[in-house]
Amino acid sequence: MALSRTHDLHKRRLGRNLGVGLALAALVIIVFAVTVAKVSEGEYEPPKLEEGYG
C-alpha cells in the first residue's frame, strides 16, 4: 500500500523540519543582534593599522 502525500508521518517530519529551521533562524537572529549590540556599545575595536603601512 502506497503512502498518501498527507500521511501523518509526513506531517510530523514537516513539523520537525520547520521547528528545527525556525530554531536555527532564531539563533542566527540572536547572534546577529548580540554582535550589533556589542559593536554599538564599543566592546569591539578594530585593530589599528601600523603607521606607514601601505
Partner: protein
Amino acid sequence: MTDVSLQSASGPQEAGFGDYFALLKPRVMSLVVFTALVGLLAAPGGVHPVIGFAAIVFIAVGAGASGALNMWWDADIDAVMRRTRRRPVPAGLVTPDEALAVGLGLSGLSVVLLGLAANWLAAGLLAFTIFFYAVVYTMWLKRSTPQNIVIGGAAGAFPPVIGWAVATGGTSLEPWLMFALIFMWTPPHFWALALFMRSDYDDAGVPMLTVTHGRRSTRRHVFAYTVALAALALWVAATPIGGPVYLAAAVVLNAMFLVGAWRIWQRDEATAEADSYAVEKRFFRLSLIYLFAHFGAILVDAGLTRLGVWAWL
C-alpha cells in the same frame, strides 16, 4: 515501499518537534527563565537589553539541556512512575541516544554562547548548574539518598545567581539570598508532591523521604523545612533585595504556607486518602505561587527603588 517498511525504518513512532521540545522540560524552564530574569534585573547597573535577552535564552536552553540529560539517564524509572511515563523517552517517541545527543549538544552550545554574549563567570556558573543537575543530582543523589531533593535543589537555585553574574560580571550577597530562597523552598515543594503521588517513588525504587523514612516523617519534614523557609524569607525582607512589596508578599505567603504545612503535619494517611490528598495538592499549588510571588516582589521592589519611589526609606 509499504507503511510497514517505512515505519519500521524510522522507529515505532515518528517523533514530532514538540516531542524533542518536551525533553527540555518547558515547565521547569519557565521557572528558570523567571528567576534568572529577576536576578538579572535586580542587579545594580544593567546590561544591554539585547545581551540580557540573549543571556536569558541561553540560560533557558542550558536548563533545558540538563532536563534532556535527566530524561536520558532516568528513562528506566520514568517508565515506572505514572507522573513521568508519558515523557518522550519512556513513551518510545525519542530514543535515549537522541535525548543524550540533544542534552550534550545544547549544553555545550548554551554555555559557549552565554560566555560569548555575556561573560565567562555566568557561563561557568551555567556549566556547573548543568553538571550539578545531570551528574550530581540525577546520576548520583537521586538513587542513593533521601537527601536527593535537599542537595539536588541547589541546581534549580542557581539561575538568579547566573542572571546577576550576567548583569554585573560577579556575585555578591544578594543573588545568594535568592539562591537560598529556592534552595529552602525545594524540599517542601517536592515532598508535598511525593505525598500525593503515593506509590510512584516506591514503585521506581527512588529513595524519596516517603519511601525511606515513611509518610509520617515526611509530613514532619515538610513542616520543619517550611518553618526554616519562612524565617529565611522574612529575613530576606531586611536585606538589600527586600523592600515594602517583598515584605508584604512574604508576610502573607509565608503565613499561608505555614498554615498549609501545619495541616499536612497534623493529618494522617487515612484522612488524606479520604479527601484524595486535597491539602497536599493545595500546598503544592501554593508552593508554585509562593516562589513566583517572592521573586515577582523582588523584581517590583528593585524597579521601584530604581524609580526612586522607596527613596524615603
